[in-house]
Amino acid sequence: MIIKLYKFGDLLISRPAGREAYLSAKAYLFTKTPQIIEFDFEQVKVLTPSWIDEFITLLKKEYPQVKIEFHKSNNPTVISSLKVISSSS
C-alpha cells in the first residue's frame, strides 16, 4: 500500500498532527492488515522527524509485522528527517 503523504497536508510538522494522520489512515486506508506500507513524499513541502516518528511508531506498535518503505525524495526536510529517525531507531 502506498500512502501519499501530501493528502495529509504539505506541512507535516507536529506530533499531534502525525498521530491524527495515523489514526485517520488506520480508519480509512488500512481496510485489511497492511503487509507493506510505502511512504510517498511527493508534494510534501515540510516534514519533521516528530511528525513521521509519531506516525511510524504507532504503525509499528499496532502492526509489528508491517514492512515500511520510503520513496526517494529530493526534499531536504524529508532527507534530514529520515536520517534522524533511522539513526535513532
Binding site: 506541512l11 510538522i13 507536529s14 506530533r15 499531534p16 498532527a17 513541502k45 515540510v46 516534514l47 519533521t48 522527524p49 516528530s50 516518528d53 509519531e54 511508531t57 526534499n75 531536504p76 526536510t77 534530514s80 528527517s81 536520517k83 534522524v84 529517525i85 535513532s88
Partner: protein, 316 residues
Amino acid sequence: MYIWNNPSEFLIITPESASSLSGGSDRPFDFVVSIDYNITMDIFSLTKSKTRRKILEQFLSRPDQDYYLHQLKRKLSVSVGNIRRELIALTKIGLFQSYRKGRLVYYKINQQSVLFNTLKTFMKKTTIDMSENIVQKGFSWVTKSSPFQTSPDLYCQTRDVFQVRLQTFSQHLEQKLGIVAYLVTALAGEIGNNSFDHNLGQWPDIPGIFFAHDDNQKIIVLADRGQGILKTIRNVIPQVSADRHALKIAFTQVISGRFAEKRGNGLKFVTQVLKDKKWRLRFDSGKASLEIFPNQKMKIIEKKSVIKGCIAVLEY
C-alpha cells in the same frame, strides 16, 4: 516642492510657501527628503503601510527587476487590488514607473528618484532595528518574573495558532528562498512544537509561545515561559542537576523528556540541519546558554540571569 516629516501628519509645501517657511519657520529642515516631485510623501509615510513596505522590500532587494501585478501578488501574498492602489500612489510621486508590454502592465522602481537611495538606507536600518527588537522582546518576555502581554502578533497561545502562523511564514519565505524555506520552517516547527509537547497542561504561568521572525535579516525567535530543559530532562535522568548539562543532553542525545515515550529526536534534527546548512542557533534555558556556530562548534556557558523556560534565536 518641499516636504518634511511632522510627527503627527505629513505636510506638502508648495515652492511658494517653502520660501516663506525656510526663512521664518522654526521646524527643522533635517527631515526634507524630496524636492523633486509635484506630489510627494515623507519617508515614514512611505513605509508605514504593510503592503507598501512589502512592495518596497521586494523592489529594493532586486531594483533591476520589473514585475507585473499578478507576479507581485504571488510573491507578496497580497491582493492585486491593494498592490495596484499602492503602486499607483508610488508612481504618482515618481518612485515607480510603469510600462505596458503586451497585455501586461509592468512596474519598475525608479532608481533615478531622489527617494530611491534614501529609502534603501532607511529600509536597511529599520530592518536591523526590527531584528534587534524581536530578540530583545523575546528575551524580555522570558526573563521578567511575572508574565506580561507581548504583542498579539508575536504570541501563540495554542499550537493551532502557531501552526497557522508558521504556515504563513513558510509561504512568504518560500517566495524568497525557495526550497531552503522548508528547512527553516521545519526547524522553527520542531523548536516551537517542543515547547507545547513538554509543557501542555503544566505551564507555570502563561501558556503558549513567543514566535517572531525577520525574514530580511533571516532571524527567528521562539520562546516559552515553560518548565525549562532541566526539569524536562530530569523526568528521565533525575541525577542531572545543572541547566548546562541538561541542555547538552537535549541537543546531543536521543532521549525523551516525556517518560515512557520513545521520542526526543527533534533537537537532534535541529543540530543536524544547522550543521549541514552552517546556520547559527542560540538556545537559552534556565541559567545555561548554548550556541551552535556556523563552523559547527557548540559552546555552552552558564549565565547569571535566568530564563524562565526557553528561548531560541535562529540565524539562517
